[in-house]
């Protein structure tokens, strides 16, 4: 049986069960079926009226209306700080809860709750077979079915590719160079967040600074560095970085190599004999880096040290970069190179 036939059959069956006459046409006589003689069996069984429940519904709906009006009044009277936002929420929320309550009373006490049975729908192997046959037979005139289907699929793919091509414009999809570039280069002055150049002699120990390349976009992930000064005698920087920290002043990328958060935490022991040693910490996943040893990872999930920016002190006393970072800045990517450009 076709689904519509099935539906009609079901409908007929239900109607027959309800013993209602099948209306042939339209007309006022059918419309007046609402006032049908009591001899007809009802579809929805009858139940006793419940005036108290009706009263309860009326009270709840009335309360809801009052809350709704209250909402309008509060909104109207409300100016920043005059009446708290909470009143608006209470009015609207209580209005909705009252309506919900009224509907619950309707459901539990005013409408008949029937418990009916029905068959679970089942799969129909006969119709499945018909569909399969129809599709096979509909395509029986094709002699090179595979070839044509293949051609169709290939064309679809080509069109799909063509349709996707404009998406390439959204960003530098082919050129991953931006991941490797930073604004730093030799001689660039280090400035603070207000753009003032940093004087090397003013860099204190025991604290940390955020530095940026002069004139560059501060939001560039390759821009911000955290600057600290440590005892030069205690530094154990990797080989080749002997002159990267003039006067013990170190600059590391402020962007965590794990997931790109800012290294906003500097651990600086007041009494190093007993307290945990200096560290740069990321607050997102607590990757911890040792500034003495080139920001190697000493705790947390980061897989690479923070890239170090080589520094020099200009003849004018300003802090300057003497090159680019020791490694790629920011979170790692497949094929990340050791040295940025």
């Amino acid at each position: 049986m076709k689904p519509w036939q099935w539906l009609v059959a079901l409908l007929t069956m239900l109607r027959r069960r309800a013993r209602r006459p099948r209306g042939g046409g339209s007309g006022p006589d059918i419309a007046s079926g609402a006032t049908a003689p009591p001899s007809r069996e009802r579809i929805v069984p009858a139940g006793a009226p419940d005036r108290r429940a009706e009263n309860l519904v009326l009270v709840l709906l009335g309360t809801a209306s009052l809350f709704a009006l209250g909402f309008i009044v509060v909104y109207d009277q409300f100016s920043s700080g005059a009446l708290p936002d909470q009143l608006l929420g209470i009015c609207l929320g209580m209005c909705l809860l009252c309506i919900g309550g009224a509907l619950t009373v309707v459901a539990k006490r005013l409408v008949v709750t029937e418990e009916l049975e029905d068959d679970y729908p089942e799969a129909d192997p006969e119709q499945q077979q018909e569909i399969v046959e129809m599709i096979h037979e509909g395509g029986s005139r094709f002699t090179r079915k595979r070839l044509l289907l293949g051609a169709g699929a290939a064309t679809g793919g080509a069109l799909g590719l063509a349709a996707m091509t404009p998406l390439v414009s959204i960003g530098p999809l082919w050129d991953t160079g931006p991941l490797d570039r930073t604004p730093w280069h030799r001689g660039l002055r280090v400035v603070d967040e207000h753009g003032a150049p940093m004087v090397a002699a003013d860099v204190d120990m025991q604290t940390f600074y955020t530095g940026f390349p002069e004139g560059a976009n501060m939001e560039d992930l390759g821009a911000p560095v955290v600057i600290i000064r440590l005892d030069p005698a205690k530094l154990e920087l990797p080989a080749g970085r002997e002159d990267w920290a003039p006067g013990g002043i170190l600059a590391y990328s402020k962007i965590c190599t794990h997931a790109g958060c800012a290294i906003g935490l500097y651990r600086n022991p007041l009494f190093p004999a007993l307290e945990p040693n200096n560290a740069l910490v990321c607050p997102c996943h607590y990757s911890t880096f040792d500034p003495y040893t080139g920001a190697s990872v000493i705790y947390g999930p980061a897989g690479r040290p923070l890239p170090q920016l080589p520094l020099m002190i200009g003849t004018d006393g300003y802090l300057r970069a003497s090159g680019n970072f020791s490694g790629r800045v920011g979170p790692a990517w497949w094929a990340v190179r050791e040295q940025p450009t």
């Binding site: 204190d204 600074y209 007041l270």
Partner: protein
Amino acid sequence: MMRFTHRARSSLPRAVALLTFVALAAAGVAQAQPQSGIVRPTTEPSTPSVALGAQLFAGNCASCHGIAGSGIKSPRPGAGDIPGAGPSLHNVGALAADFYLRTGYMPLGSIHSQPGPEQERVLFSENEVRSLIQYVASLGSGPAIPRPDPGSASLSDGQSLFLTHCAGCHQIEGRGGFVTGAEVPPLQNVPATRIAEAVRIGPYEMPRFSTRQISNTDLSSIVKYVLSTNRPDNRGGWSIGNLGPIPEGLVAWWIGAPLLIISCRMVGRRRRR
């Protein structure tokens, strides 16, 4: 008047709720050392004096900070069997003494514990604190107690300075936090002077900010912002701790979800036996 009992952490009862971590809690609490009593002169003068400070220092502080505050670099037997080691107090000034004594960070229960939230209890009387401050100030030419002026400072400057220098550890609303190896205290109900002192000292693992980096004007702004976090603008209603998504998730699961289930059970039916 003085109680020597170690104040139990008020949050401990809440920990019980986290049954999973009870075993861990025991391990954490076990680290805390019992506090030895304060040694006092038998007849204590009623007015603060350097002399009283010196006596109290010799009895209670010298085991770690050395004779006349000269410092002890590495752990070695101090008073009794407690190992002592502590920084020199020459030139730390009244500022540092005021901070550590009035926060109750000193005297420390154990040299291995963090001076901070765990130790917060003042063991000296006001008279004794003043004497000790005078004595420590006399040990060199250290800074005086700062006098921040939040009244005339800029709240907005304070917010952005706090974000740049402090929020990484203390959380943007000053609710405290965690740095690997250290606990970061929340800043609620901390007096203005304490905040200013901490910025200039850099206690425990905190960086130390000089007047060159954070001017006294800026410091007043920061203090003003921190004080404002005592009563943040919670116009959205119940603040749930001003901590962001974690308490919000707890409310969604422990208040939202039960209300929804109650709604479902009002509307739907329970399983029949």
